[in-house]
Symmetry: C2
Subunit: 169 residues, 2 copies
DNA sequence: GTAAAATAGTTGGTAAATATAACTATTATC
DNA sequence: GATAATAGTTATATTTACCAACTATTTTAC
C-alpha cells in the first residue's frame, strides 16, 4: 500500500519534518563508528565556520542558545572542539574544532555530501535548482511571518515568544 | 548580515529540519488558543484518515509507535479522540476524532493551509509542482537507502536498527 | 491443527530535545 | 555613568526519541 497520495496532502512543514527524520536516520547509520552520535549539522557548520561564536551557530541552524551550551559542553567532553573567549569581546566564546574534531568532521561532511548526491542523483539540475530556490524562499518567508497578524481569527494570549536575531537562517 | 550563502551550503536534510522548525513555530503561535499545544500534524492526518489505526499514523508521519501510544493517551485525556478496538482484528485500535476533536482539528487544518498558501504565495505554480515532486522523490529515495551499502568505507557495528514498514511515508 | 512468525500495541527506562525564566559578565548606547 | 543590549550560563520542567522487552492477536507454514 503506497501512500504517496497521503504524503501529497500533508503541509510542507510536515513533509520537511519527515524528510529531515529520514535523512538523519540514514546519516546516523552511516556514522555509527564516530565518537559522536548526533550534532552532525553543528559539526558540518563548524567545518565551514570554524571559530565562530555560539550565537552564530544558533542563528544559522535555528537552535536555541540554551541548548547550544550543552551541545558545546558535550563536544568539548568528547574532544571535538575548544571554547575560547574572544579577547576583543569577552562576551563571545569562539568554538574551534580540535585536530580530532577536524578529522571526524571530515567524515561527517563526506556522509552529508554522499547522501545529498545519492538522493539527488535522479533529479535534473534544473529541478534541483528550483527545489533549492523554493526551499530557501519558504524559510525566508516563514522567518518574516508575523503569526499574530496572519491568523487574525484566533484570540491571542498575552504570552511573549522568542525574538529573531538579524542573522538568523 | 544575511546568511543565505551559509544556508545554501547546508545539506538538504538540515535545510528541511530548519524549515520544519520555523514552520511549526509559526503554526503553534497561530494555534495558542486550542486545547492542545502540539500533535498538530497527527490531528491533521486524522482529519483525512479518521478511524485509522495507530500504526498507520506512525508510518505516514515517521513517528515511533511507542511515542504514538503516549500521544494518543494525551489526545484521549484532552477529549480529542477515542481509541476503539477493531472487532475484526482485535490487535488494531482505531483512532477516531470526537466531536470536540473534529471541531478543533478544523482550526488546525485551516492554520496549516493558511501558512502553506502564505509562504507559497510568491512561488509560481510550476515551481511549486517541481518543489513538491522533488520533495516526494527525496523522501522515497531516503526510505530505500541501505546506508550500509552506500557508506562502504565505514566499519559497521553489529547493531540492528528499526525496520521500515511497507506503507511508510 | 498446531507451532512459529508476524503484527498492533504497550510498558519502562534512558537520553536527548525544547522551552522558559532568571541569571552573570561584558560591551554599546545615550 | 546609567541603561540597554548582547553572549553565554544555570536551573527546571516537559516532551520527545529510542530501544528492549513484553502481551495479545492474527497469519503463515508445516
Amino acid at each position: 500500500m503506497p501512500t504517496n497520495a497521503n504524503y501529497a496532502k500533508l503541509s510542507v512543514g510536515t513533509k520537511a519534518l519527515i524528510l529531515s527524520k529520514l535523512y538523519y536516520s540514514v546519516l546516523s547509520k552511516s556514522l555509527e563508528n564516530l565518537d559522536v552520535e548526533r550534532y552532525y549539522s553543528i559539526l558540518f557548520f563548524l567545518n565551514e565556520h570554524n571559530g565562530c561564536n555560539q550565537q552564530n551557530i544558533c542563528n544559522n541552524l535555528a537552535i536555541d542558545k540554551t541548548a547550544m551550551v550543552k551541545v558545546i559542553d558535550h563536544l568539548i567532553k568528547v574532544g571535538f572542539v575548544d571554547r575560547n573567549v574572544n579577547p576583543d569581546d569577552r562576551r563571545e566564546h569562539f568554538i574551534v574544532l580540535t585536530k580530532k574534531g577536524l578529522k571526524q568532521t571530515a567524515e561527517i561532511v563526506k556522509s552529508f555530501n554522499a547522501i545529498d548526491s545519492e538522493i539527488f542523483s535522479e533529479v535534473s539540475k534544473e529541478d534541483q535548482d528550483t527545489f533549492n530556490k523554493v526551499l530557501c524562499q519558504l524559510s525566508s518567508k516563514l522567518k518574516e511571518l508575523p503569526a499574530t497578524d496572519l491568523f487574525f481569527n484566533y484570540k491571542k494570549t498575552g504570552r511573549k515568544k522568542k525574538t529573531v536575531a538579524s542573522d538568523k537562517v
